[in-house]
Symmetry: C2
Subunit: 234 residues, 2 copies
């Protein structure tokens, strides 16, 4: 029995550093260990450590200065912790969030249909079935989380750096707004409107058939449908 994807030491270092930064163990403006120290620590060659460092730099997590150490930046932190400027609960803002989300979901579904691994497709199928089964007995918050997890799995399956990153950023930041939308629709209908369940199904089936354009269309319409609900609810 052998692992198909043994996690390389390089990958481990990468995750380790990202985690440290994202969880706040290393805070902005704080210096990282030097490349040589990291190399000694991990047993990797410095050139390999450099590649990890460069990756983090390209992702905006750290900044390097020749002669000085690599220091943490974490531009993502700005987003996650941003207080949403007090507009988190108003309707206009929620509508705007859904506008952007429609685009994002569409692209995610499109690429997911094209590039998801069979394993991912299988995982999505599982999650979808779970979603259907338990849809009756959950709190609004749990439903929101389930809904988001479903869409996040799709985003990840797109294997598209930009889409995945943007989705993460997006959901981290706007979860409350999205949750608010779901809450509103639930309050109005007492349950998920039938449309939504059917739309989820359409997205799901388009993905399983790897029909990219249909997946995009379904995902987009799904969000825009939610948007219409919210618009008509004022």
């Amino acid at each position: 029995m052998l692992m198909k994807h043994t996690v390389s030491t390089k990958e481990q270092l990468c995750r380790y550093l990202k985690q440290k930064i994202l969880l706040g163990d290393i805070i902005p403006d704080q210096a990282l260990l030097s490349q040589r120290q990291l190399a000694a620590l991990t047993g990797l060659a410095r050139s390999t450590v450099r590649e990890v460092i460069q990756q983090l730099e390209l992702e905006g997590l750290i900044k390097t200065v020749p002669g000085g150490r690599s220091i943490c930046q974490n531009m993502m932190l700005d987003h996650i912790e941003m207080p949403l400027e007090g507009v988190g609960d108003n309707l206009d803002f929620q509508l705007q969030v859904l506008e952007a989300r429609a685009f994002l979901e569409g692209e995610a579904a499109y690429f997911a249909a094209l590039r998801a691994t069979d394993q991912q497709l299988h995982d999505i199928a599982e999650e979808f079935k779970r979603m259907q089964l338990r849809s009756k007995g959950l709190s609004t918050l749990d439903k929101a989380k389930a809904d988001l997890r479903f869409h996040m799995m799709i985003a990840e399956s797109s294997h598209h750096v930009l889409i995945t990153s943007f989705s993460q950023l997006f959901y981290n930041r706007y979860f409350n707004a999205i949750y608010g939308v779901l809450n509103n629709t639930l309050i109005k209908f007492g349950r998920y409107p039938d449309g939504i369940r059917m739309q989820h199904e359409q997205i799901y089936h388009a993905l399983q058939k790897r029909d990219a354009q249909k997946a995009r269309k379904a995902a987009r319409e799904h969000i825009l449908f939610t948007r219409k609900l919210l618009e008509g609810a004022d």
Copy 2:
């Protein structure tokens, strides 16, 4: 007299490859020169070439397979060359594009106000002035390009990897749609509506004063204004 930022050979190679890929000199599934060949060609060390390659890979332009060559992917190209599914010119599609764009522009302006370097702010000021001066004597296409350049500079000044990347992706893909919007408004009004000029000015001033929230608001409203124009033009 010395250059402040002499463009390193490394940077040159990076731009060269990006250009080749984005302009279609290297098409998807086509193999790049090997790292050793590129090293020999540029005089760089292979380790340095590798860092360039890794960067392109992280940006989704190429894919590397151990043992095989690095092959072009250019996920952007999918967008640029995609026939837009036959809806490229219809109204609904343009509206959708503007929806997503409103969100993106807002975020870009917000972060640009916070993080643009003085140099970038200066460059934006220059571009803005140029835009004002020559706004009378340009073709629609040139105006569209100028408009896009202005917004792209803002996106770049956000120093936010995701926003910058997403903007590039976005504009590459939807330039035609955006151009269509501009064309429509120009046809309708014979010139840019006054609102747009004023809105550009508001964005510009918010940036110069580094008022992030105002910048976001102005940028968002600018796009949503264009959207309304288009909506009312059917």
